[in-house]
Amino acid sequence: MDIAGIPILTFLVFFPLVGILFLLFMPSGNGKLIKWAANIITALELVFSLFLLSGFNRTVDGMQFVERASWIKSLDIQYLVGIDGISLLLILLATLLTFLATLSSWSAVKDRLKEYYIFMLLLEVGMIGVFVSLDFILFYVFWELMLVPMYFLIGIWGGERKLYAAIKFFLYTLFGSVMMLVAILVIYSHYGTFDLMKIMAQGNLLPMAIQSWVFLAFFLGFAIKVPMFPFHTWLPDAHVEAPTAGSVLLAGILLKMGTYGFVRFSLPLFPDACKKYMPYVIILALISIVYGALVSLMQKDMKKLIAYSSVSHMGFVMLGIFAFTPTALKGAILQMINHGISTGALFLIVGIVYERRHTRLIAEFGGLSSRMPIYAAVFLIITMSSIGLPGLNGFIGEFMILMGTFAVNPVWAMIAALGIILGAGYMLWLYQRVMFGKLENPANEKLSDLNLRELATFIPLIILAFWIGIMPKPFLDVLDKPVEKIVKIINPTYYDKPPLEIKKDGTPVHGGNAGSHETPAEAHTGEVK
Amino acid sequence: MLTGYGAILFYFILVVAFAIFALGLSHFVGKRTSSREKLMPYECGVDPVGTARVKFSVKFYLIAMLFIVFDIESVFLYAFATVFKELGMLGLIEIGIFIAVLVVGLAYAWGKGALEWE
């Protein structure tokens, strides 16, 4: 489907490449020109991605904006792209965060500007490519393609241990990816095609033995990316050593690709294996939530704290995905977006003080709110968003996940709620130690508050945080159809259960309305909006 | 009766046995005396001068190599000569090409000075 005759998805994927060519021919000495060009390119990409909204139809079941071309005929590999509600939200998040990350690098990056922005744009190509690909090999190509620019971003512009972090990130993630490749080949040998739409339309599943192995291989690839405990050890190093913009994109988008992979591939294609391994995955998710939160409490480095908090938050998302209910799944996907917004903003916040003081140790700060009031306000809003305060985005996602999980197993929900409490703990403690109290360190006396550009990087995120928190309906509506489709495959009996009706005298009775799929709770929140 | 390879095996054993017999006989039966003069290396009756290692001129090696190449060429020419009649004109041309290639080699060796002695 095209918009004004242009295949919009292909355009979105390859426009950053045009941007790269543009940047290549710029003189390396003129830093200002390069910075302006890079920012304009990413801003344009953001604007173009908004066009997707105009053509998107939220009542249609199935992929939209589908573009199909034959790429490698002899191997049955197509250039097949398309989006549904899930990918739509993630693409918009990707373009927004890339623009904000580019904007935030204005004064942070001093040398080799051209290469820096070229790698950022290359990263954007990979990110958007992953979210739109519907052909397995095309997906894999973009998935691996993303590793290279991130490796260079960490390795060249990173912190002290950048080399170690970069190669660890690369090899660890690649390990999962290559397992995924073998699994993709097994899928091909069974179905005879790499076309995801065709495989899903076929309906027949892999035999259980093969499905188990393939699920496990995909699980490895995605779980390393999420990251789930115990595959998370690359994350603290990569996040801490990466430059600010790199961390924003790493936490904001790259982590989502793991969970996106589960939602897009594992759940619809390997439902039996998913159900078989669900208890183990949930256990790992719960461990991630609690362990991530506990370790965050102990961190002395701000970035590491936020990195471990990502482990905890993504554990929440995994919990929501593997609860196999529409509420939980919608909550999980929404929480992906929320996490991108709040953690992206958190890394930007750390970047602000790091640029000024070149340290991230919490002990070095304290009492900053007296010198940087606007910064304090922004920091507070983002902290609340991360914790999940009602009124902000985090609450909606976490609440929906907990609700969906509670319906399946209350104990899990209770353990997960523990994670929320711990989350409030470390975030508020962090805020208190950094912003409140007496300004003791003399180096902090002269700190300047946010300038206009820096404030501009936060405003879209704050707006989104409030928007999703107060009125999440537009965001949740686009997820209706895709989530319904997935839950129908993974948990068919869910829609067969008639919903509860409450009679006039207060006693619940199972009604006969088998067609409706709104849980009473969801209908309730729907009325509130 | 031993046939074919059996005969060769027998001959081989015979040869080895004879060698062992000859050497063994001289070892066990012969007198053995050693003196300082007897154990010195032989150099026409005088005391040895200098080391036993002599710098061997590499030119000999070069000449030997060239000899081998052209000797084998002539061996092939002999082989060709025996079936000269059957091979006819085509054979003549083929052997001409063979000789031509070797002439190129000779010209190369000549031009590069491999045939000079000094």
């Binding site: 190509v141 691996e144 190669i167 390990f175 073998v182 091909y188 | 290639v101």
Partner: protein, 471 residues
């Protein structure tokens, strides 16, 4: 009859002409151009040779698509090698005549190897190639490592040739013929599949040819010879000799011994796993970039064997495609090594590459391209080649082998990326002098870098070509 071997004749004439011209010519650079012209003329004749399909010279030589594919590959590789040599030997022109004529004779040997359908012809081709390359690897007379490389190569090569010859003799003893097709027919007819002499012959052939492909455990010569030989010769050896040996391997084992397939398949699985693993693991500890590339080429031979184990149309065509991909990315990597080598054997330690990303950004960029392609990162051609081979393996049911293959790919990423780490992420420690890049070398770099990208992004043409080149 003559029309069947026109390319070989052209090549021989060119080589002899170079020898002759070398005696009188003072300006040695022209010899390089003569070599280029000779290779180009041969290439033209090869392209026309498709019209003369079929067997000739009493069934000893065949002109088919398989031979055509490899001949074009060899000639292109030789062309690029000559371009590289012209840069490398610009100041060192003593031995140019011998060097180029030997190079052309080596290509001649490779062409004979690939066209051969008789074991004796195979042997002739292998020997022509081997002797030329023995001398080529030792042609830097002042460099001790070059002499050591040549000596090791000759001794081990002669030893393995003896194995090969013994295998050929045993095959002759069992089947009464050396023609590949007749051997297959004889094995089928006499029903001697389990004859120990035949199995021994097969193993001997495997050893003899495996030496040339640098399979483990016959690989011990590779690092020393690759390190000691002049870098253009190393480049040529790593792509040309390996491809030729693999072509012969395919011909002999698929044309003559197809019925022994179940037996040699098992052997090859073990050898392939060993080769990949040993190559990749030892490469991690290398300091010298030529040795690292030598071990990497050993590992790539392991990946190629997976294609042979898979067999069938997909398996063999995946090998052919991978060889094309491998030729260009390896030649490109060595071209960069030559560019940094300062017209000689300088700056060969990997730590010498520190900081080159800022001094020579274009060179560092193409080196990164080649390293990533060798590691198998999409969307470069190295990934597509590995993908094709692994998909053939999975298709035939060798999933475990594919898993080992991808894990080895992963291990190899570490040492390929180490070069990029040096170039971009470390400061230079000592003053590195690099000679300016000549047009020939520049052309090589551009062509190989472009092809590394193009064959990966748009592989259909090459895949179809590979598929059409089976026999």
């Amino acid at each position: 009859m003559i029309t069947a071997i026109l390319p070989e004749i052209a090549l021989t004439v060119a080589a002899l002409l170079i020898l002759m011209v070398d005696i009188w010519l003072k300006k040695k650079v022209i010899i390089g151009y003569l070599a280029l012209v000779g290779i180009a003329a041969t290439l033209v004749l090869v392209l026309q040779s498709l019209a003369v399909e079929g067997y000739s010279f009493s069934q000893m030589i065949v002109n088919d698509n398989f031979g055509f594919f490899f001949q074009v590959l060899f000639l292109v590789a030789a062309f690029i090698t000559v371009l590289l040599s012209m840069h490398y030997f610009r100041d060192n022109t003593q031995i140019l005549g011998e060097y180029y004529s030997l190079l052309l004779f080596a290509v001649l040997g490779m062409i004979f190897m690939v066209k051969a359908t008789d074991l004796v012809m195979v042997f002739i081709g292998i020997e022509t190639l081997s002797l030329s390359v023995y001398i080529l690897s030792g042609c830097l007379r002042e460099d001790r490592r070059s002499g050591e490389a040549a000596l090791k190569y000759i001794l081990l090569g002669a030893f393995s040739t003896a194995f090969l010859l013994f295998g050929i003799a045993l095959i002759f003893g069992v089947t009464g013929t050396t023609n590949l097709n007749a051997v297959a027919a004889a094995i089928a007819g006499k029903n001697i599949l389990l004859d120990p002499m035949l199995l021994l012959a097969m193993v001997m052939l495997l050893v003899g040819i495996g030496f040339k492909i640098s399979l483990v455990p016959f690989h011990m010569w590779t690092p020393d010879v690759y390190e000691g030989a002049p870098t253009p010769v190393t480049a040529f050896m790593s792509v040309g000799v390996k491809a030729a040996a693999l072509a012969v391997f395919l011909r002999v084992f698929l044309m003559a011994l197809p019925l022994l397939n179940p037996t040699w398949r098992h052997l090859l699985v073990g050898i392939s796993v060993l080769t990949m693993t040993v190559g990749n693991i030892i490469a991690i500890s290398q300091d010298n970039i030529k040795r690292m590339l030598a071990y990497s080429s050993i590992a790539h031979a392991g990946y190629l064997l997976i294609g042979m184990i898979a067999g069938g149309e997909t398996g063999i065509s995946s090998m052919l495609y991978y060889l094309v991909v491998y030729t260009f990315m390896n030649l490109g990597a060595f071209a960069v090594v030559i560019a940094f080598g300062n017209k000689g054997e300088d700056n060969l330690a990997i730590s010498d590459y520190a900081g080159l990303g800022s001094r020579f950004p274009a060179l560092a960029f193409v080196m990164t391209l080649f390293m990533l392609s060798l590691a198998g990162i999409p969307p470069l051609s190295g990934f597509m080649g590995k993908f094709y081979i692994f998909s053939a393996a999975v298709k035939e049911g060798y999933i475990g082998l594919a898993v080992i293959g991808v894990i080895n790919s992963l291990i190899s990423v570490y040492y390929y990326l180490r070069v990029t780490v040096m170039m971009y992420m470390k400061k230079p420690e000592r003053e590195i002098i690099v000679a300016p890049v000549q047009p020939g070398l520049l052309l090589t770099l551009v062509i190989t870098a472009f092809l590394t990208l193009q064959i990966g992004l748009f592989p259909s043409f090459y895949l179809e070509l590979a598929r059409a080149s089976l026999f």
